[in-house]
């Protein structure tokens, strides 16, 4: 790595932190939907893998620091991962302490990041000797991963039953495109199907709106009321380790360590489970809530970072819910990155480590400062000026464009089909992760029938 690359890495990290500080606050933004397309686009633009990794690490740290802010201020999660924290943040808000919430959560995030980066490298090193074995059985492992995630889904039986049919949908479309000679037989459609699954639930709700009967039945709502609480200005920047009590730091660090070790499990599930489990014994509601939110924030951060870094360093295949979802672009963005040639293969372990640390540190410095000082101001700006309609529109626009890029006009309809099916499955309790895993496992799985 030369000076020029390091300079680019730093710039990318600053841009990533800035952009995702704002996106993190916007309510309802799903991590996969906002992170994966941008990472994939950067890869396809031919930007240096060092820069992409730094951008991504900075973006997840910034997004995780900020998506809990609207929870503290308005009780609205800024992302899927912040949802489990709503209940506890509301306790602190009802005691008039939203600023305490923000400081505790942000400090939790800092601890989560600091614990999980070194731990991820240790765990990755432990897995490394088995990496070749693991990657030579990737098809089988993706399939086992699918079954594993299916058993963790809300609707286990449907998740299991749907594995082969959903694989048929994916491979069926691919073979149709090959048969019609829309794409050459040595290339494959991945990105747009992936995004189709991501936007599935929202696409399904949108298509439902086309049904008059359904529209009539929907509850009609007025404006969404959001209470924003301005607290007194923070003059000095607090030390993240002094914001938390010793016990809170301890539980947050323990939660982060457990979250890193269980990198192959779903982060939301682990956050709810461990967050509640580690704080259940505390009686005082305020103490319990502040312990819970600092621990949960640390844990989500840690499981995100470890879920990305461990498979990236050790195996090069996306073998965690995080890696097949938000971080997918680092593993697979054909033709630039493929499972056989991606950031794992291009960068050495030391380089991955260095770039990740630079990215995460810059994000922590910028975002921690900004959130503590201007949390309420940014929140009210986003709530006042960014309409939800425009955000949904932007996602729709990007997905349609990427669908066209992958395989022409017909694929726009192909992606609609994938989105509708996955939206329906998601509504009936099939985990996102199951569908993402099927997307990877499909060629191997259906190859068994030939």
């Amino acid at each position: 790595m030369d000076v020029m690359i390091i300079f680019q890495i730093v710039v990318a990290a600053i841009l990533g932190a800035g952009l995702y500080t704002i996106i993190g606050i916007a309510p309802g933004t799903d991590e996969t939907a906002v992170l994966a397309p941008v990472t994939i686009a950067l890869a396809l633009l031919g930007i240096s893998p060092y820069v992409i990794l730094a951008f991504f690490m900075s973006a997840i740290v910034a997004k995780k620091l900020t998506d809990s802010i609207p929870v503290a201020i308005a009780g609205i999660p800024g992302g899927v991962m912040a949802a489990p924290m709503v209940e506890h943040a509301m306790v602190l808000k009802s005691y008039g302490m939203p600023d305490v919430s923000i400081r505790k959560m942000s400090s939790g995030s800092v601890i989560g990041t600091l614990v999980s980066i070194p731990l991820s490298f240790l765990i990755a090193n432990a897995i490394l000797p088995f990496a070749d074995k693991i990657s030579s059985y990737s098809g089988l492992i993706f399939f086992l991963g699918t079954v594993f995630l299916a058993l963790l889904s809300k609707n286990k039986i449907l998740s299991l039953v749907i594995i082969v049919p959903f694989a048929l949908l994916i491979q069926g479309l691919r073979h149709l495109y090959w048969g019609l000679e829309i794409i050459p037989s040595d290339s494959t459609v991945f990105v747009s199907f992936f995004l189709g699954i991501t936007i599935g639930p929202i696409a399904f709700s949108l298509f439902e709106l086309l049904n008059k009967d359904h529209r009539r039945k929907l509850p009609r709502l007025g404006n969404k009321e959001i209470h924003v609480n301005y607290s007194k200005k923070v003059k000095e920047l607090p030390n993240p380790f002094k914001v938390l009590t010793k016990k809170e730091s301890g539980t947050a660090a323990l939660g982060s360590a457990l979250g890193s070790i269980t990198f192959f499990l779903t982060p939301v599930g682990m956050t709810v489970f461990l967050g509640e489990f580690l704080t259940r014994h505390i009686k005082d509601p305020v103490q319990r809530a502040s312990r819970a939110i600092s621990t949960m924030d640390a844990l989500t951060n840690a499981s995100y970072i470890s879920g990305t870094l461990i498979p990236l360093i050790a195996i090069g295949l996306p073998l965690s819910p995080m890696a097949i979802g938000p971080a997918a672009g680092l593993f697979n963005a054909p033709p630039i990155f493929t499972p056989e040639h991606n950031i794992h293969h291009i960068l050495s372990m030391g380089e991955i480590m260095l770039v990740s640390i630079i990215g995460a540190t810059i994000a922590l410095l910028i975002t921690f400062y900004v959130t503590i000082k201007y949390a309420t101001q940014i929140c009210s700006f986003v709530f006042k000026y960014i309409p939800h309609e425009a955000l949904i529109g932007l996602f729709a626009g990007l997905v349609v464009m990427l669908a066209f890029m992958d395989a022409g006009w017909i694929n726009i309809f192909g992606v609609i089909l994938v989105a509708l099916v996955s939206g329906l499955l998601h509504r009936y309790g099939v985990n996102y992760g199951v569908m993402f895993m099927i997307l990877y496992a499909a060629p191997w799985l259906l190859g068994l029938f030939s």
């Binding site: 309802g28 999660p77 007025g222 404006n223 209470h227 924003v228 309609e389 955000l391 626009g397 990007l398």
Partner: protein, 78 residues
């Protein structure tokens, strides 16, 4: 406060007006796909133009459409 019209629906954890939503989606899809198609040259250029188009659509719809949120601000004195 004037009588509030109740014609919004909940999509993705926030309230939207169906008509505004169609406008925003139409604009963003049009600009993103349009940008991709009119870009000079192949490869990365098309993608850059497409993304810029999408962002342009987002900015235009943000200006045209008012967020459906009522913000109640309170200040803490102490």
């Amino acid at each position: 406060m004037e009588e509030e019209k109740k014609n919004l629906v909940d999509i993705w954890e926030d309230h939207v007006d169906i008509k505004d939503l169609s406008i925003a989606m139409g604009l963003c899809i049009l600009f993103a796909l349009g940008g991709y198609l009119i870009a000079p040259g192949n490869g990365p250029q098309s993608l850059i133009f497409g993304i810029l188009g999408g962002v342009l659509g987002f900015i235009i719809s943000s200006i045209m459409i008012k967020p459906k949120r009522t913000i109640i601000e309170t200040w803490e004195d102490e």
